[in-house]
């Protein structure tokens, strides 16, 4: 019975005027719904919260090294300045 050997992509003859295509939609499908399980929304909430947390950690993991590098550069610059000032005053 499931003998759909014809090519589903076969180009049909040129559309005739007023040919809207297929016939009526399947009514039973238009109203079809499935009940969700009792914990559906709770699990969904958990997924959203976890994704948000991961997103924050990922953002922070990019931001934190940059902040550290900037602070280190500032400290090094301060040390160089101090050493340069001392040498200048010894002369």
């Amino acid at each position: 019975m499931n003998d759909d050997k014809s090519d589903p992509d076969a180009i049909p003859p040129a559309d005739e005027p007023g040919d809207e295509g297929p016939d009526e939609p399947i009514r039973e499908l238009m109203e079809l719904e499935h009940e969700t399980s009792p914990g559906f929304l709770a699990r969904l909430r958990g997924k959203i919260h976890r994704r948000s947390a991961v997103s924050h950690v990922a953002t922070f993991s990019w931001y934190l090294p940059k902040v550290i590098l900037i602070e280190l550069a500032g400290m090094l610059g301060h040390i160089v300045n101090v050493l340069g000032t001392r040498k200048g005053s010894e002369r």
Partner: protein, 202 residues
Amino acid sequence: MPDETEAPIEDRDLALIEEARNAPEGDLRAFERLIQQYQKRILADCRHMTRDEGISEDLAQEVFVKAYFGLSRFEGRSSFRHWLQRIKVHHCLNYLKKQEGKRGVAIDEGAEETHGELRVAPTADRNLESMNQRLRISGVLDSMPATLRLPLIMRDMDELSYEDIASALGIGLSAAKMRIKRAREEFRRRYEGAAVMVKGHG
């Protein structure tokens, strides 16, 4: 006749979307009220596109997660329902393609004929009749090959345009229309066949 005191669905959705966008982080109440209107439908879609009862709830949840994090990009050019269904279609099609890669079986391969298994016990109880009808529809959809089942679901359940369906499936517009036409004919043939079996059973 629609209740004049109720706002149209689209206005309700837009109000809830705005509320969800403005809610403090972690406050999902508005978003949950929004998706409660669509969760049963999206679950049915996922179930029938993938024919996999076990994964359908996970897929439906992932659709809603994508919708939540994409809310800021929803511009309201189409209805929220339509936007959500497009997310669902692409998510399920991606899932099917991954499965296709794992199993080495094209999703276009036809399902085995399960017509003989559509034996639903007839009953006068309304709830059971409704459940039986859902089971009958599920059985018919599951027995159809993906080349017909997917465009049928996208058109008659999701109400996507022929252009959107053709684009999502990577086929021409004429091919999309032809598949949907054939799918409807095939669905009706199998559905009526299942009805005959039910009556014969009773």
